[in-house]
Amino acid sequence: MDSVIEIENLTKEFDGLIAVNHITLNVGEGELFGFLGPNGAGKTTAVKMLCTILNPTSGSAKVCGYDIVRQRDRVRECIGIVFQDRAIDTFLTGKENLDFHARMYHLDGKTRQKRVAEVLDLMDLRGKENMRISECSGGTQRRFEVGRGFLNHPRVLFLDEPTLGLDVQARRNLWDYIKLLNEEEGITIILTTHYMEEADYLCHRVAIIDHGRIVAIDSPEKLKQAVGLNLISLQIAQDSSGSLVDSLKQLSWIKKIEARNGSLELSIDGGEEKIPELIDFADNHGLVISSIKLYKPSLEDTFLHYTGKTIREEEGSVLEIWKAWMRRSGGKR
């Protein structure tokens, strides 16, 4: 696979605090790649360096084959960026903002009109293009920003927390547009997020990042598999689970059985295909299953597995941030 982004030992320090700590990875052409981690993990800093807004302290990276420090302008020509904070002129209309962007990227009049029309269609913004940005909803503003990001046909589009602050419905919508961009326009997309379900739903590959380090990189499925087995929760109509447990132990794909609140939790080696097998098995033993449910490990569990804490614990705690800072700066002194 051709690499669009090659990162080698990229590091950024701010006054002794190491925000990004020797990250190395490649992203292939057409990939939808995610940085997943809590606030302050270094995702945004990493993306800012790749977008040429920040200079790295050490290490190097290439975007579209161009060095992010020495060939800034080249990099800028081949990327699109959607910033975490709003970066759109609220006094202008959506269309005027798109026109502005197109001209700044040297698109000629004809190409500009064609591209703006395409963007409006693709992002479903028809009928809103002449509204002032200040009068648009948060979701619409964000869609204009994402649309603007790929207006100039970038090879790589960076999305820094694209759905932050959006309601559930707007977020769902935006996800579908992001997928569409990746599939229809073939744009390589790098996104940062601290939403598990976002990374899970969108990304081909995810890098879990914590305290500036990458702790794992893989597809969401593989990351989840690495954490452990699927779980089946089972309820039996009659109270005869004692004998059932013994007979279930005969099945080799059941790795662990736990009785909890009147139901059985089975750790299984396999997926949905085991459900009919289990029902047949119960039938043969004269038992009736009243409910059965399969649980797959979430990325949340994955994060917990790799970092030892859940993403939410990490977020709110001032103590944790302070400890992280001490840990990082302590290493230097």
């Binding site: 807004i53 080249r74 800028r76 020509e77 081949c78 970066a87 609220t90 202008l92 962007h101 001209r103």
Partner: protein, 266 residues
């Protein structure tokens, strides 16, 4: 893929784009258009008009003309001072509201970015100044004639560029919005009051005159007076006003755009 533009110092399309944005933003906020004209109008109507009824024939610098004739170029200069400084300083708003990032990551030379932006701000400032000239004429001020008027536009451009550069320096060095208005007022009002816009520099004692000599707006106002009203009303010869303004405007605009090119996006 367009690659030529990025390294060009003067890049016409982005310059035009930045100019267009300033124009649109200016025209869109009706309250601001009206508001920016209100203060100069008040000065002319409530200071200039009453003062012109007072006998002031003996004051050096005011001989032979009405106070309103004397004041009008000063108020045009004030308009340029306020609008120019604000135009340069409004970079800080772009930064605060995040739009600066969008501009700074574009593959465009930063000098072109700030040139287009400043030209936009200057265009709106000079339109305001011309409206004030129109209002003054409607109130009875007599202009020197067409050549003087054309020269006055040149002085307006130089004055405006000087203060745009000045505003840009403040914005890039200050870096954030806190205390910004306070600092602006602290600097702008002394510049205005000490420029000779309201009283003739010729009738001041030497110590005050020397302070007024270091005020850039003194030369703008004097130049406007010499061109718009008549050479005999000005304190300095026109070539002196012109030369001082040209040097100041080149120095401040260059320094301002240099600071801007070094500015961090956030």
């Amino acid at each position: 893929m367009q690659v030529i533009g990025a390294r060009r110092l003067i890049d016409p399309l982005p310059i035009y784009t930045m100019w267009l944005r300033e124009m649109k933003r200016f025209l869109r906020v009706k309250a601001r258009v009206v508001g920016s004209l209100l203060m100069p109008l008040f000065f002319l109507a409530f200071l200039g008009l009453p003062m012109s009824f007072m006998p002031a024939r003996q004051i050096p610098g005011l001989e032979g003309i009405g106070y309103l004739d004397f004041l009008a170029p000063g108020i045009v200069g004030m308009t340029l001072l306020f609008a120019g400084t604000m135009s340069g300083a409004s970079v800080i708003w772009d930064k605060e509201f995040g739009f600066l990032k969008e501009v700074l990551v574009a593959p465009v030379n930063r000098f072109s970015v700030i040139l287009g932006r400043s030209l936009g701000g200057m265009t709106t400032a000079i339109i305001q100044a011309l409206v004030i000239v129109g209002i003054a004429v409607a109130m009875g001020v007599t202009l020197s004639g067409v050549p003087g008027f054309l020269l006055a536009i040149l002085i307006m451009i130089l004055t405006c560029a000087t203060f745009t550069g000045f505003g840009l320096i403040i914005a890039t060095k200050l870096g954030n919005l806190e205390g910004f208005m306070a600092i602006m007022n602290l600097i702008i009002f002394p510049i205005f009051f000490l420029s000779g816009a309201l009283f003739p520099i010729q009738s001041m004692p030497p110590w005050l005159r020397y302070i007024m000599y270091i005020d850039p707006l003194t030369y703008g106002v004097d130049g406007l007076r010499g061109t718009l009203i008549g050479a005999d009303v000005a304190a300095f010869p026109l070539w002196l006003d012109f030369t001082v303004l040209l040097i100041l405007c080149l120095a401040l605009a260059t320094l301002g755009s240099y600071f801007f090119s070094k500015m961090e996006a956030d």
